[in-house]
Structures are given as C-alpha cells and as structure tokens.
Amino acid sequence: MNWITKLYYQAHRVWKALSVYLIIAGPGLVVMVADNDAGGITTYAATGAKYGYSLIWFLVILGPVAYYVQEMTVRLGAVTKRGHAEAIFDGFGSFWGWFSLLDLILVDWLTLVTEFIGMTAALRIFGVPGWVTVAAVCGLMGFMVVNGRYWTWEKVALIFCAVNLIYIPGAFIVHPSVHDVIGQGLIPHFQGGFNGQMFFFLMANIGTTIAPWMLFFQQSSVVDKGLKEKDIIFGKIDTIIGAVATVLVAVFIVIVTGTVLPGIDIDDAAEASKMIMQTHHYAGEFMAIGLFDAGLLGAICISLASSWAFGEIFGWAHSLNNKIKEAPWFYLNYFITLISAGAVVLIPGAPLVLITLFVQVIAVTLLPAALVFLILLLNDKKTMGEYANTRTQNIINGGIVAIIIALSTLYGISTLFPSMFG
C-alpha cells in the first residue's frame, strides 16, 4: 500500500509542477519561436539550399547559445521587476540608456518592415494583395492587444508559435533520406571546406539566432507577466523548450530546402516556396504559410518590445493588462510602429532590399552593447543576490557573448562590404 501512496504523492507533485509551468510558460517559448522570424526563415532556407544537410549540427549548437543568453533576461526581469531598457538607464546612466533606447526603436522598426516584406511576399503566393495582408495583420495585432489582458495576448501568440511547426510535416512531404540527414547533418564538418562563403553563412545563422529585440522583449515580458524569483526555474524551462522548438523548426527548414533545392542559391524564402511548389505543391505551400506565420510572430514581439521600452523610460502605463484608456501612449506607440512599418512595404519603389541589409548593420550597433550590459547587470550582486551570475555562468555566457559579438559584427561589416568574404 505504501508504494501506491508514494506513487500518488509523486504524481501529484509532478501534476502540480506541470500546472505551475503551464501558468508561467509563455515569454520564453514565444520569444524563441519568434526568433525564427521572416529573416531567419530566409537564412535557414538559403543555408539548406546551399549546403544541404551539412550544417544541421551547427544549428543544433545554436540552441544552447540562444538559451544561455535569453535565460539571463529571465533572471534579471524576475529579480529587478524592470525591463531591459530601464535596467540599462538605471545601471549605466542616461547616455547609454538613450543610446540603447533610440537604437532599439530604429532597429525594431526596420526589422518590423522586413517582417511585413516576408508576410506580404508569402501571401502573394496565394494571390493575396499586399495591402490586404498589411491591413489584416494590423487588424489582427490590434485585436490581440486591445482586450486589455496579457494572458489573452500570450495564448494567441502561442497558437501562432504552434503554426510555426508546420515545417515539420513539410519536411516529411519531401521524403528526405533519414540516413543522409543523420550522416551528413549531425557530424560536424564543413562541406566543400571552410571558405569565405561558408563563413558568411555561419555568421548569418548566428546573426538570426540572437537579435537585440529578443533581450528587451523577454525581460519586459517577464516583468509584465509578473514572474517572481521563485518562478525563475519555470522561466528557464520555458526558455529551454522554446530553444528546442526554434532549433527543430530551423533544422526542418534546412531539411526541406536541402532535399528539394540542393546547390541552388536563393535570395528569399518566398522564392524558395515557389520553387518547392513546382515539385512538391503542399511542401511549398507549407513553406509559404510558415513564412507568413514567422513574420507575424516577429511583428507581434518586435512592436511590443519597442512600446514596453518606451513606456518603462517615460513612466507611461505600459502593461498589456491595461486598457487603451489607461495606457494611451503605450498603445499609440504600438500602433504607430506597426502601421508605419506596414505602410512602407506598400510604397511603390520603396528601397526594401536596402532596408533588409540595413537591419543587419544597425543591429550590430546595438547587440554588443545590450549583451555587455546584460552580463554586467547579472554580475551586480547587490541587486541580483543569489541570482547573480556564478563564475561558471560568467565563463560560459562571457564566451558566448564574445563569439556572438565578433561574428555578428563581421556579418554586419560583410553586409556593408559584400566582397569581403569572397
């Protein structure tokens, strides 16, 4: 009888922990899946088409990298109850604060434009005009925030995260050789040798793994959700699950393009979708739906990251739990960012390619600063107490941050000087 009691007790404990997790889950999962935004999908599709399955191992490594960086924002947000923008102002003074805030607003807005480029291109495949896509997306995103509850917003965002997994059935449709995927993909090697072009692709994949808005978004999201120190463990689990999901999606995109379009140079994911549709109709359609969903998820998170940051610094009410009347500036900022970015895509002859390239350059002016501030803030034992970085965490996180800074900077520079890596 004793073992039945013990089993019941264990099951009850697991169920209780799972229930708490399900309440707390959200910020980590959303930010990680949204990391595979329209730009990310294009990068993975191009990587698979160019190098087949041979760089899957590299994408797998990027999962823990993303986790270690984002996990720090969970601790910082839960302990300080402050968003990243406010934490920088408070910790480093107004010069670095304004630099980070204004840079974030610029890079977020430019990235948002690229999300709209991805979404309009994806739905154009199904015959939907660009203006309909922009209007529908703005309407949907407006609906998500105006009901005045963080919980509702997050659950809708989680549904879109689930749609992002559409690449997995897409990969099964094209019948990849499992033997080849494992044999070529999971053994670290550089197909065709390590050259300039390979280096460019590695940098591009790292560049899409950690973006500045992700740090600001997850920390603000943790604060808005009201996570406390005791919830940090669940926030970490949430981030781990998100990291696994983001790697899975990236790997399956590489499998799709690596199977159907091996050795082909592609410039954007919409173009890849059309090419895949010629031989595997549904896989191509899934690719296009996934691209739209990725752009939408990116847009959902990025527009909020800016509004939260502005609200934190200007002292406006800035929670999704506030109604429009209670937080007019927060929502005004949100809608202006959203609608203006959508409108740019509709301007005939707008320099969309230039904007896409410019995002990479501007991002590298903010990302290193945001990462360095994150490490320094996590070492502030007076504020962080037992949640400050340990020596091991500092070695791991410091190493990751140094590598990300170096490679993302080289990626930004290579965007400015395309002939740099051959």
Binding site: F89, D90, F92, G93, T365, A369, L376, K382, I413, L416
Partner: protein, 64 residues
C-alpha cells in the same frame, strides 16, 4: 488653442520629460569597477569604429 500652440506645448512637455529622465538617471547605479569601466570604454571604441566604417562606406558610395 491653435494646432501650432498644441504642438509647441507637446514638444515643451516632452522636453521637460526628457530632462527629468536625464536627472533621474544622471548617476549610474552600478558600481563603476575597473571591469565595468573597461567594458564601457571598449563599447565606445567599438561604436566609434562602426560609425567610422559607415562614414567610409558613405564616402566611397558618394565618390563612385
């Protein structure tokens, strides 16, 4: 109130707000240990380097 006055009032209000923010965060709360100082100095050099590169790119684009 005319539109011009309204805009002027809004700008003035926001300028006051920015000044208040600058006053509030005038002194960084983080202890400026040697590690923090070196990190911030490196960041300044890094940004100067990037701005220099952007400027160089702009000049070469204009010349060619």
């Amino acid at each position: 109130m005319s539109l011009g006055h309204a805009i002027q009032a809004m700008i003035s209000r926001n300028a006051d707000k920015v000044r208040a923010i600058n006053r509030r965060y005038a002194n960084p709360r983080l202890v400026m240990s040697p590690a923090v100082r070196v990190s911030l100095l490196c960041l300044r050099f890094y940004l100067l380097f990037l701005v220099g590169l952007l400027f160089y790119k702009f000049i070469t684009l204009v010349i060619h």
